[in-house]
Amino acid sequence: MQILHYIVARCLHAVPVLIGVTIVVFLSIHLVPGDPIRIMMHGRIADSEVAKIYHDLGMDRPILLQYVVFLKNALAGDLGMSLIQKAPVTTLVVEKLWPTLMLLAFSTALSVLIAVPLSLLAAFRRNSWLDTAIRLGSIIGFAMPSYWIGLLLMLFFGLLLGWLPISGLGDTPLDRLRHLFMPSLTIAFFLAPILLQSLRSAMLDVLTSEHIEVARAKGLSEWRILTKHVLRNAMIPVITVLAVNISWLLSGAVVVEYVFGLPGLGSLLVRSVGYRDYPLIQGLAFVFGVLVIIVNLLADLSYMLIDRRVLRS
């Protein structure tokens, strides 16, 4: 019951957030010079024709009125028609949503797989050369630009070794995993270091706490301490880091989708901004907003599962 209350409260919170996000995007994209019809036609269209097209589309009305119409339709589930691709925005978004979600899920999984063992090693052997090497390596990985890492991986795995395909999404689920490996690894290069740092300090906190001393005194093996206490308590900062960084993940996905030719929301956003495809940009802003809100909501819900104390507060 408490959980239900919590969820409803959070959903209500989400509404002003969504309105805020969409209004800012709407106003800023309309302030940017350039309009979709002239861009598409490379200027080879008369002003009077352009004016007529925009009038037919209702795009010469006051900005705030256009926004209100957009919001009204969006809440009824209609995100409008893409100006450039001549298809409903919802169709386009749904088509491209799964590749992006798969990419984000795979990247997160890879990052956790990389960060958890390394942070354990670093925490247990703190201040040793191994700890220093791990931390140094993670900072270097974080500092390298994703675009460059992506190309290096392509050259190495795709060209030199020929193990992995260098672009596209693939057909069968297994094929998809092969196609997504390099892009996910590229994102993991900047997500894993963040996770690693938080995990390591969280683990160190736990390892030096009193109840671990008691556990050791009780004769618990290091392995039991690790799984029952350290990992469990360290999950909270991991979830926090992931939830907070979801927006950065989405922007990282934009670069990675472009480099690896993945048909996801990121590359759709880049193209729609370039074309000034207003309805599509709005629709994407709305969807990204919803995505971030859902991820944060799930994060909060999982805290409750891990640590009952959160519910009481």
Binding site: M40, A46, L151, S167, V259, G261, P263
Partner: protein, 515 residues
């Protein structure tokens, strides 16, 4: 006597045997089957030929739909397509086109004059993107079940070229009217291929049109391929890597700084094909300091084109002597303005340059144009000018250009048809709707010459007129032309008959795989 006859007979037998052998040889040369994977930098937005369109869509549409008259194998000429033949009246105002008999759409329905009239009315609508190309047309009428009549308001020598536009493709009226939106996804046309699947932002898969009318070298209907996959790969490095490791059979737009590397790749050929493209610096004649012809000439004298050709284009292309691309009536007689800093300095002084800073605009992320701008800046500064390079996203930059809020902009232009009229008028006719393509250039003599060239059908006369226009406009320093940039693509040696034609696309119907 007998010997002579025997000789002739022997000669005849030999020649027929050879002739037969050569026909058989070409039929055996061509191999049918296989899938061609082509990586493109542009994505297809729609298959509807009538909506405002981009190259991503146009080049795909041309594999599926056909107009009445079509660009030939090189792109520089025209040949009959769905119109098998046509006659022109003596006054040049009436064209009667005879439809090719027996042509069917991909769904088996026969092509009719009604379909042709419907399509032509759609493309010539003044609101449509290429409506301007049909401005001279009065009406499209049916003469009989196989003849379409085009009546003009005034003579228009570029009509045949206009009819070869992708936008003038003949579509199935019934299928288009039933659901125009679905038509943009799966068009019903008469071309060599039809769309099997269209995943937006990813790829288009084409399969043969079983009813296609053109025959191959072996006497059987085209195309030779079983399947074509047109992939959207915007990242140029990915395209080159994919060519190298065999993911792609052919790739477009090889970045020029990697062209030499592609040349040395095993089993790969680098294609450098002539195009209808000109890279140039747009100048705003309506703003200081380029409202003064001497200033415009000065920056042409101070443009180090040799350095640009080396640093930006790696030697690919040709230094231009024109304000527009090398379309059919290009004149090689117009002398190029040489690189002469002293002359530039003198002109700047003579014009009384008052120190107005010049903003040289470039699209963000366009490294070659950025380099060109840097080289130009160096030369112009040597001539005594204050130049700063500014970068804007391409949509913004173009919008500013259209509004006249610019001084100089490094960009390019391409011709959609193989007739000078389209670009010659758009760029140089100051009375047109785009203010001479945003340059605000006005020259009455040029406007008069262009109108004459548009109305006469005499090729020699047109060549003379366009040559004159080229001379005047180029020497008015309309712009700073940089390069007649060719198409630079790469393809595996197993791909045969591949060719990028001048108007921009490739005829996949003739391509076959030697695998």
């Amino acid at each position: 006597m007998l010997d002579k006859r025997k000789l002739i007979l022997a000669a005849l037998m030999l020649s027929s045997a050879l002739g037969g052998a050569s026909i058989m040889a070409s039929a055996e040369d061509v191999k049918r089957g296989g899938t061609l994977t082509l990586a493109r930098p542009d994505e297809a937005l729609t298959f509807d030929p009538f909506t405002p369109s981009d190259n991503g869509s146009i080049y795909n549409i041309m594999q599926v739909c056909e107009p009445l008259i079509i660009a030939d194998a090189s792109g520089t000429g025209l040949e009959p397509s769905l119109a098998e033949s046509w006659t022109v009246s003596a006054d040049g105002l009436t064209y009667d086109l005879k439809l090719r008999p027996g042509v069917k759409f991909s769904n088996g329905k026969p092509l009719t004059v009604e379909d042709a009239i419907f399509s032509m009315q759609k493309v010539s609508d003044p609101k449509a993107s290429f409506g301007f190309a049909f401005d001279a047309v009065k009406s499209f009428d049916k003469v009989d079940d196989s003849t379409l009549r085009i009546t003009l308001k005034r003579p228009y020598s570029a009509l045949e070229s206009a009819l070869s536009l992708f936008a003038a493709s003949i579509v199935s009226k019934a299928d288009f009217e039933k659901d125009p939106a679905a038509f943009g996804q799966k068009p019903v046309c008469t071309g060599p291929f039809q769309v099997e699947s269209y995943e937006r932002g990813t790829q288009v898969v084409l399969v043969p049109n079983p009813n296609y009318w053109r025959k191959g070298a072996d006497g059987k209907p085209l195309p030779y391929l079983d399947k074509v996959v047109l992939k959207y790969v915007p990242e140029s490095n990915s395209r080159v890597l994919g060519l190298q490791n065999g993911d792609f059979d052919a790739v477009l737009a090889v970045p020029l700084n990697q062209a030499a590397q592609v040349k040395t790749m095993d089993g790969v050929t680098l294609e450098v094909a002539p195009s209808y493209r000109l890279d140039y610096v747009y100048l705003n004649h309506g703003k200081k300091p380029f409202d003064d012809k001497r200033m415009r000439l000065a920056i042409n004298y101070a443009a180090n084109r040799d350095a640009i050709m080396k640093a930006v284009y790696f030697g690919y292309g040709e230094q231009p002597n024109s304000y527009m691309p090398k379309v059919n009536f290009w004149s090689d007689k117009v002398a190029k303005i040489p690189y002469d800093i002293e002359k530039a300095k003198a002109l700047v002084k003579e014009a009384g340059y008052d120190g107005t800073p010049i903003q040289l605009m470039v699209d963000t992320g366009n490294a070659p144009f950025r380099t060109a701008a840097t080289v130009l800046q160096q030369g112009w500064q040597q001539a005594g000018l204050k130049v700063e390079i500014v970068e804007y996203d391409v949509g913004t930059a173009f919008s500013m250009t259209q509004k006249g809020e610019y001084q100089a902009y490094v960009s390019y232009i391409t011709s959609d048809i193989n007739d000078d009229d389209e670009l010659a008028s758009i760029q140089a006719d100051g009375t047109g709707p785009t203010a001479a393509f945003f340059s605000n250039y006005k020259n009455e003599e040029v406007t008069k010459l262009l109108a004459q060239a548009r109305e006469t059908g005499d090729k020699a006369k047109r060549a003379e007129l366009y040559g004159k226009v080229q001379d005047i406009v180029y020497n008015d320093a309309y712009s700073v032309p940089l390069n007649f940039l060719p198409y630079v693509n790469g393809y595996r040696n197993t791909v045969k008959n591949w060719r990028n034609i001048t108007v921009g696309w490739w005829w996949l119907r003739d391509v076959w795989l030697d695998k």
